[in-house]
């Protein structure tokens, strides 16, 4: 950092952080972090989950107070004690998990982000103006919970833009968008930059950062480890800076198509969602052979959780023949019965669905593995075998925990996920259905999970991978299909799937459905 930058004036950077420290119990989230954002630049903040990006951003936006360090705004020392103060300075923020009020209308949500009554005058008209100017179509009178994720994001952006921000903070904005929606967002962001607005862009999607951002600050374990121009680095180099380890080249040679009878067949599965705003499953058919990894891509909320529940048996299908597990009709069977036949299932939500937080790892292991792991005796828990099973998972998957007696909730997201994946994998399932296995998991744990899944498939297990992370699906899967609005596209081999086709299918475009159908060998 150059001390000369300290001077106020037209050349001073817009925002400068010096030596920001934030300590949480048991974790130094920010360790003397420096960050400089110039006027009119898109600045990337890169890092794994837990690198301290979110904490830093919350400090900039006044949600948290730093324990030490200085903040300079236009070269002048500034104290940002609250989000209202941040907004008054000209800092706007679009959150990763949108801070929207579902029961309120678009206009009401926007109004809540504006501090003074004067700003709220003629709001509906101004929302319309801004959305037209930046290509962000929105209807002010609609209720948020009826809107798609992309539309929700637009509300947040419009809310920020109404205040003519000088700095716009975007926390992982594209993690919920289709590739096409993301492209539209980039157009909007570039226009904002052209108008002199700086953008702090938080992401771990490297290609995106390379295309969009002039400068990148890379964080690891609470510290800034590098600052660079991302366009001059390869995505690989950036990733290595982020995780500080040489990445293994993904082994993606075209494997021979697995032969043999399908182990999981889903046949015209149609289920009405039990949730009031859930997605109904419509006429879903696919089959997965032993040794194959079948990917189901799609944007959140298009029927993934309903499909997961139907496959695991939490929701019964219409008739037994809708789902065949190794040839046996199991459509009406409950999860335990399906597990007995060789099915293993791991839902998306770790806390409360995949695992019971306040219970120990051993108990959590028992909950899923008592049938296949033979952890019960005369209907009672076999404590010794249960403990051993958990210990085996912990050892095999390098789970950082104090032992089988550790509470599940005491583990970090990545460690708990490794334990849960290990719990299912060690049961040697014939069919494994797994949803979002690396959501919110650091790159190291994700790599371990990928390896485990690939190895499991090699032993002849049929794996269904439901994920919103396209990179993950393209990396692991042999064939993929896309779920949109409760319908599943025809499956295609991963080599023939272009990002564009997948993106269109994710948006539910009918022509893409047909294209995919044509791409299939008859």
């Amino acid at each position: 950092m150059d001390a000369e930058l300290d001077k106020p004036g037209p050349d001073a950077p817009l925002l400068e952080l010096r030596g920001i420290v934030k300590q949480f119990p048991g974790c130094l989230a920010n360790d003397h972090v420096d960050l400089t954002i110039r006027k009119g630049e898109i600045h990337a903040l890169l890092g794994e989950n837990g690198a301290g990006k979110s904490t830093l951003v919350k400090i900039i936006y006044g949600v948290m107070k730093p324990d030490a360090g200085r903040i300079l705004w236009n070269g002048q020392p500034a104290v940002i004690a609250s989000p209202a103060q941040a907004r008054a300075l000209g800092i706007g923020m679009v959150f990763q998990h949108f801070s929207l009020f579902e029961a309120l209308t678009v206009a009401e949500n926007v109004a809540l982000g504006l501090n003074s009554a004067r700003q709220r005058e003629g709001l509906e008209r101004r929302i319309a103006e801004i959305s037209a100017r930046y290509g962000l179509p929105l209807a002010p009178e609609r209720t948020v919970h009826d809107l798609s994720v992309g539309e929700r994001q637009r509300i947040e952006i419009v809310r920020c833009l109404l205040q003519n921000p000088k700095l716009l903070i975007m926390d992982e904005p594209t993690s919920v968008l289709t590739p096409q929606e993301a492209q539209k967002l980039f157009v909007t962001l570039r226009r904002l930059r052209a108008e002199g607005c700086s953008i702090l862009y938080i992401s771990h999607k490297l290609e995106e950062v390379r295309a969009l951002c002039e400068t990148a600050t890379i964080m690891r374990l609470g510290r800034v480890v590098a600052q660079c121009a991302p366009a001059e680095k390869s995505a690989r180099e950036l990733a290595e800076l982020m995780i500080a380890a040489k990445l293994k080249e993904p082994d993606h040679n075209a494997k021979p198509a697995p032969a043999g009878p399908p182990r999981l067949v889903v046949n015209r599965l149609t289920i009405r969602s039990s949730q009031p705003f859930g997605t109904d499953l419509k006429d879903i058919s696919f089959s997965v052979a032993g040794g194959e990894i079948f990917g189901i891509a799609g944007i959140a909320g298009n029927g993934q959780s309903e499909l997961m529940d139907a496959l695991s048996g939490e929701t019964p299908a219409g008739s037994p023949a809708n789902i065949l597990l190794d040839g046996a009709p199991v459509g009406l069977e409950r999860p335990a019965a399906r597990r007995r036949r060789g099915g293993c299932f791991l839902p998306e939500e770790r806390n409360g669905h995949g695992a019971v937080g306040p219970m120990t790892l051993a108990e959590n292991g028992f909950l899923s593995a008592h049938v296949r792991g033979a952890l019960q005796r005369f209907g009672l828990i076999n404590a010794r075998r249960t403990r051993e099973f958990a210990a085996r998972v912990i050892h095999a998957f390098d789970v950082r925990a104090t032992g089988p007696q550790a509470e599940a909730r005491s583990l970090s997201g990545g460690n708990l996920q490794k334990f849960l994946v290990g719990r299912e994998v060690l049961q040697k399932p014939g069919v494994l259905v797994i949803s979002q296995p690396t959501w919110g998991v650091d790159a190291g744990a994700a790599a371990a999970i990928y390896e485990a899944l690939a190895r499991l498939a090699a032993t002849g297990t049929a794996i269904v991978l439901i994920s919103q992370d396209l990179d993950e699906i393209l990396l692991l899967c042999d064939r993929i299909a896309v779920i949109a609005a409760g319908r599943l596209s025809p499956a295609m081999p991963v080599q023939e799937a272009s990002l564009e086709t997948i993106g269109l299918l994710m948006g539910g475009a009918p022509e893409a459905q047909q294209d995919a159908a044509h791409a299939l060998p008859a």
Partner: protein
């Protein structure tokens, strides 16, 4: 059936519905901010005795109402301190508040059982009160009955038309987001709970200064619980609270007046009818999941702990 009979029926309904409406409209505001205070019954009882005792000592029923509101607020603040500041479970705190309120009111009221106190007198509105049928029912009533109507209108306006009301609803819908935007979640919830306490206290005073008008130990007879049910019944909309309270009041008296007209209705059935009707209506209401999702505060009863 004479006009006088119908008028007296209608007046009875208004009289029986008002305490429910008062207590429920306060609770509605608290719940809209995301706080479930099950202590309504306790706050009503303490309000009732505070109001009665104050009115008895000073001779002024109006001062009694003021004292009742303050007593309700005081009790509500105990609940708020426990559940909002110390993060105790809201359901448990609310239940404890009711039990505490019952006992505390009985203790305070030991010397006031069976004696007469000042009573709220009807205030006839000029001209309006002379409208046949409607006049005596709606425009020749005591001040708290007018107050209950005004409050429903005010609350509906506040919640749906003002920015402060919008903030209150936003906090009930998503307290984390509201906090992230810089709204003082806890402070606003304190205010909403205090308002709920004041309204419950006033509802209690209505019972001890007009409806009974006496102090007795179990004066509220479960009305606090009915008020809580009415908030759900209304799916958190003030206007429907009015409908619910009057429906309940109506059913309470319908059976009595039917009996008066010569139909024989077994008396246990009469006593059970309003409660049974509440259960049936609640079940019917909860079938419309969308409306509940839109109006029920999503953060109702949840802990809020801000990390700063």
């Amino acid at each position: 059936m004479s006009a006088a009979y119908i008028t007296s029926f209608a007046i009875s309904i208004v009289a029986a519905s008002t305490p429910l409406l008062l207590a429920a409209s306060g609770e509605l505001v608290a719940e809209k901010s995301g706080v479930l205070n099950l202590g309504v019954e306790g706050m009503m009882l303490v309000g009732a005795i505070a109001g009665f005792a104050t009115a008895h000592q000073t001779g002024s029923a109006l001062l009694g109402i003021g004292a009742a509101a303050l007593a309700g607020v005081a009790l509500a603040m105990i609940f708020a301190a426990l559940s909002l500041s110390l993060l105790a479970n809201q359901v448990a705190c609310g239940l404890a508040l009711t039990i505490f309120g019952k006992g505390f009111a009985a203790l305070l009221g030991a010397g006031y059982v069976g004696i007469a106190g000042p009573v709220l007198h009807p205030i006839a509105l000029p001209l309006l009160s002379r409208i046949p049928l409607l006049g005596p029912v709606l425009f020749n009533q005591n001040i708290l009955i007018y107050f209950s109507f005004v409050m429903v209108a005010l609350i509906a306006w506040f919640l749906n038309r003002t920015h402060a009301g919008l903030i209150l609803r936003a906090i009930g819908d998503n307290h984390d987001a509201a906090h992230a935007m810089g709204y003082p979640v806890i402070r606003i919830r304190y205010a909403a709970v205090a308002f709920g306490g004041a309204m419950a206290g006033i509802a209690g005073a209505y019972l001890s200064l007009f409806y009974s008008p006496l102090w007795s130990q179990d004066l509220t007879a479960g009305r606090g619980w009915i008020a809580l049910a009415l908030v759900v019944f209304s799916t958190w909309r003030p206007v429907w609270l009015l409908v619910g309270a009057y429906l309940f009041g109506g059913i309470t008296f319908l059976a009595l007046y039917l009996q008066g007209m010569g139909f024989s209705v077994p008396s246990p059935l009469i006593s059970a009818l309003p409660y049974a009707a509440t259960v049936v209506v609640l079940v019917l209401i909860s079938r419309d999941a969308r409306r509940i999702r839109l109006n029920q505060p999503a953060c109702l009863g949840k802990y809020f702990h801000a990390i700063a």
